[in-house]
């Protein structure tokens, strides 16, 4: 990956548009685990911080020319369970839920990128994905059932991009583990992108994070995610299966957001009373079933 991508020149602007007051990006690269004060979840992977920077880079450029408002990087200990927790779900958090925290809470942003370790449960009457946090000072897990809910009570979050294993799982989806848990009917939270099953972590992840971010300012918030991050591995049960969950009132509205939504073109999909999970059929990851055609 060419480090030049982190240094985007400021020259060559045409058609500057006013900064939009509510265009905020927050990126969370959670790379450090198992150390003092850290959460226990797999090995530390510094690449999680790298992808956060690469995803943020295009937004920094658009911000510099007045076409995006704020870009905030919240890595490791700045990715805290309380900032992923909604006050309405506070009973499950050994902390003060504060997802509306200005500049830190996920529901203070319009778009978030999270790269961390993840897991899911889809059995025994429990259906959720869990994201590992950057410090054990608060909740170590941010779960879709007991912590995360966005887009209500003044929350701003529209699009969440989650680079974590098992973060948007098919079986969790069909058992109501996402939209009914993480959104509110009248809120603006529209898109949750993640992975069914495990997702690999390689240098291609870095390239794809930048390509996805740079490509998606006007179109393809869901479709670019799938096109760029899908991988058919030569090893059995090792595919990368990106999925896009779009929430809204009608299938057409959700499809339009999936195909034609962008960071600066976040579609109004109506009340979040239903959702669609988009995926590549036949994709076969580890820790996930083969994605179905019927």
């Amino acid at each position: 990956m060419n480090p030049r991508h982190l240094l985007i020149p400021l020259a060559g602007l045409a058609f500057a548009q006013p900064a939009l007051a509510t265009d905020d990006l927050q990126v969370y690269g959670i790379a450090n685990f198992n150390g003092a004060g850290q959460c226990s979840s797999g090995n530390s992977h510094q690449r999680h911080v790298t992808t956060a920077a690469l995803f943020a880079s295009p937004f920094n450029f658009f911000s510099a020319v007045g076409m995006w408002n704020a870009v905030t990087t919240l890595n490791n200990t700045n990715a805290q369970g309380r900032w992923f927790s909604d006050a309405g779900k506070a009973a499950s958090c050994s902390c003060t839920a504060d997802d509306l925290n200005a500049s830190h809470g996920i529901d203070d942003a319009d778009v978030i990128w999270v790269h961390t370790h993840g897991s899911h449960v889809a059995s025994g009457g429990m259906y959720y994905s869990s994201l590992s946090m950057g410090t054990n000072a608060y909740a170590c897990e941010a779960r879709t059932d007991t912590n995360i809910r966005a887009g209500q009570n003044g929350g701003d979050l529209d699009i969440a991009v989650i680079k974590a294993c098992q973060s948007a799982d098919y079986d969790v989806f069909v058992n109501g583990g996402y939209r009914p848990q993480i959104s509110s009917a009248t809120g603006g939270f529209t898109m949750w992108n993640g992975f069914h099953g495990d997702s690999s972590c390689s240098s291609a992840t870095e390239t794809n994070a930048f390509t996805y971010s740079w490509s998606t300012f006007s179109d393809g918030a869901g479709e670019n995610w799938i096109d760029l991050f899908y991988n058919d591995s030569p090893v059995a049960d090792s595919d990368d299966c990106p999925t896009s969950i779009v929430m809204g009132s009608t299938p057409v509205a959700r499809l339009i957001m999936y195909a034609n939504g962008g960071w600066r073109d976040r579609k109004n999909t109506g009340d979040k009373t239903a959702s669609t999970l988009f995926y590549i059929a036949g994709c076969d990851p580890s820790n996930g079933r083969v994605l179905p055609t019927n």
Binding site: G12, F61, S275
Partner: protein, 297 residues
């Protein structure tokens, strides 16, 4: 001790995709050697086949492919007139009555989208009777745009599906689109992060294309190595130890990593990708490090 190969332990230079990311653990050389000697990786080297002699193909995507007329006519297949929506540095966004697209020549990136509503499926739930036609159409489009046959690696023809849930009711998965994934490869070795994806609608009509496919520089590519498999497994061991691992199944394969200059021309360098399978004492996720193989022309 590792199975399959044992080689003199060398302090490998771990590449994290050229982004200057330091190794996970800054171990002293002596500690690295000790840990490497104690490591118990099992290496699958079956994918480290001999790379053919040769260099980049003569016919390959040129920088000019990112000029407006080439994108509009050859890639999107339209003669409509376009107007510029905005230009930010090298990222240009254009629109016509039926299409929108953005390009960045300096990064070899293009996204083109048909803005009109998709047509209906004409034949029930199996909308296109011969998906091989879509594959050929996608490849023809890319080659018209300038992609050379010698740059094309694995091609995957896939189906996009959607499943709906509504107040606890879940619908059966429904076909949403057809996708042709065209992965870039040179001399049979994949190029990391370079691909084009062409999408057709249920009526078989072209819907969109996204590509990360920078033009290749004419010189400077390091496409081969003189290292032996034993050398590479030794370096991979050190790289994985430095990343904090000590055991597990590791699959080694070739790949080219790309570095682009200010004009957008990419040079390729060979590395060995060491992918550690998850589970056991391995990582929570399939984790891959790039291993320096002292690439040569």
């Amino acid at each position: 001790m590792n199975r399959i190969a044992r080689s003199p332990i060398a302090l490998a230079f771990v590449l994290f995709a050229g982004c200057g990311v330091p190794p996970e653990a800054e171990l002293a050389p002596e500690e690295t050697s000790t840990r490497a000697a104690e490591a118990s990786f099992t290496f699958d080297t079956s994918a480290l086949t001999a790379i053919p002699a040769g260099t980049i193909p003569d016919v390959r995507l040129p920088l000019g492919a990112y000029d407006g007329p080439m994108v509009q006519r050859a890639l999107l297949g339209t003669t409509e007139s376009f107007t510029q929506t905005y230009s930010v540095s090298n990222r240009i966004e254009m629109s016509s009555p039926s299409f929108t697209y953005s390009t960045d020549m300096t990064r070899g990136m293009v996204l083109g989208v048909n803005a009109l509503p998709p047509g209906p499926c004409a034949q029930g739930n199996v909308c296109v009777s011969d998906e091989a036609l879509l594959t050929r159409a996608a490849l023809s489009k890319l080659q018209s745009w300038g992609v050379g046959a010698g740059e094309i690696g694995e091609v995957w023809q896939r189906r996009l599906y959607g499943t709906d849930e509504d107040s606890g009711r879940v619908t059966a998965p429904a076909l949403a689109a057809y996708k042709t994934f065209v992965n870039r490869a040179i001399l049979g070795v994949r190029v990391d992060g370079h691909r084009a994806v062409v999408t057709h609608g249920l009526d078989g009509a072209f819907r969109r294309v996204i590509a990360k496919w920078p033009a290749l520089a004419s010189t400077g590519h390091l496409l081969h190595t003189r290292l032996t498999t034993a050398d590479i497994t030794g370096r991979a061991t050190t790289a994985l130890v430095n990343a904090g691992y000590s055991s597990g199944l590791v699959r080694l394969s070739w790949k080219y990593v790309s570095t682009e200059n200010a004009r957008g021309e990419a040079t390729l360098s060979l590395v060995a990708a060491a992918r550690l399978a998850p589970g056991g004492r391995g990582p929570d996720e399939p984790f891959e490090v790039d291993v320096d193989v002292s690439a040569v022309q």
